[in-house]
């Protein structure tokens, strides 16, 4: 009986590990929605709205070494408003394919924010992104 209880406890613990291992998704729908709003804001030339959806590091990378504000610099990102056709979420990170673009997001206290946008695949290396926070 004691052996059975110990075996069941080990199985339950490993089961919990598997469930935890699947990662806590903060919502594919929410991540896709934020990515779509960012792309729409850039397409509509609304730099302030687009910058409001970026992480702090992404806002700094958009301005870069120039004196241009985020709201001005972000409009240089080549975005085309298109429907979201794939959202992948793992833990607090997400990848959204929207039109021909790939957007990476991270889930913060205030919700999903864009960490990288205008991303193009590089063989055997991370995506090269116009906005890279």
């Amino acid at each position: 009986m004691r052996l059975m209880r110990l075996s069941v406890s080990v199985c339950l613990l490993l089961g919990a590990i598997v469930v935890a291992g699947c990662g806590t998704s903060a919502g594919k729908h929410d991540a896709g929605d934020v990515a779509a709003r960012f792309v729409a804001a850039v397409s509509a030339r609304n730099g302030a709205a687009a910058c409001g959806l970026l992480t702090e590091q992404a806002r700094e990378s958009v301005s870069g070494a120039t004196e241009a504000s985020c709201a001005e610099a972000v409009l240089n990102v080549d975005e085309h408003g298109s429907p979201v056709h794939r959202v992948v979420v793992w833990g607090d990170a997400a990848q959204v394919r929207i039109g021909t673009d790939v957007v990476f997001l991270v889930h913060l206290r205030m919700g999903w924010r864009v960490a990288a946008a205008g991303c193009q695949p590089q063989l055997g290396a991370p995506y090269k992104c116009d906005v890279d926070g």
């Binding site: 291992g21 699947c22 913060l108 206290r109 991303c119 991370p126």
Partner: protein, 224 residues
């Protein structure tokens, strides 16, 4: 109660150490994880969020699978392999699964033998393989848990680095998975090899893992 603790002290002591080590791993792990989150621009986690994350899960599972593998292999290997002079080995003329008489199975069982050993037949055959089977079962279960949790933790890392996530099949054949796995295996095999060899020449008075202090170096098994 006092008798229960005395009679089960070995198991209880190591279960307490297991809990303490897991708690220590949780606290040190969340500190390291949150430091990395600052670098990656991610959200910091509370202790409870961290212990229910894939990152903690894979770190636990990868250690558990290697421990169960060590014991499963050790239990099975010591049926057929011997080490002259070691307390960890059977005597050299005892190689193999041994006779029913030596193992007290079937008609050779005593009144105090377990029921399935007394029953003989398929029950005794199954019961006689239960220890290695259960260890192997928990090894495969832990390895599966490691692969699932590991894929999730790896994909979080890939997305933070702006790379494509991978499927479970790709993760299970990846360098990341096998690096984690084999670095645990090498330490387990080192421990068994060390124990088998050290037990030839070294002694620990009072421990059933050691030969008697006065036993000869080439005497094999504990009671020589």
């Amino acid at each position: 109660m006092r008798r229960f603790v005395r009679d089960n002290g070995l198991t209880l002591a190591f279960l307490v150490l297991l809990v303490l080590a897991l708690v220590g791993q949780a606290f040190s792990g969340v500190a390291e994880f949150n430091h990395q989150q600052v670098v990656d621009g991610g959200q910091q986690l509370s202790l409870w969020q961290y212990v229910s994350s894939s990152s903690f899960a894979v770190d636990v599972a990868e250690n558990w699978q290697s421990e169960y593998l060590q014991f499963a292999l050790y239990i099975l290997a010591t049926i057929w392999l011997v080490q002259r002079g070691s307390s960890e080995s059977k005597t050299l003329d005892d190689i193999g699964i041994q006779s029913d008489e030596a193992q007290k199975v079937g008609r050779y069982a005593t009144p105090r033998s377990p029921a399935w050993a007394r029953a003989g037949g398929w029950r005794a055959a199954l019961y006689g393989r239960s220890l290695g089977t259960v260890m192997a079962f928990f090894f495969f279960l832990s390895l599966a848990a490691q692969s699932v949790a590991g894929q999730a933790a790896y994909n979080v890392e890939l997305l933070h680095q702006h790379e494509d996530p991978v499927s479970w099949q790709r993760y299970a054949t990846s360098a990341e998975f096998w690096n984690r796995t084999t670095q645990n295996w090498q330490s387990e095999f080192l421990a068994v090899a060390s124990m088998a060899a050290f037990a030839i020449y070294l002694r620990q008075r009072g421990s059933p893992e050691s030969k008697l202090v006065g036993a000869a170096h080439d005497a094999t098994a504990q009671d020589s």
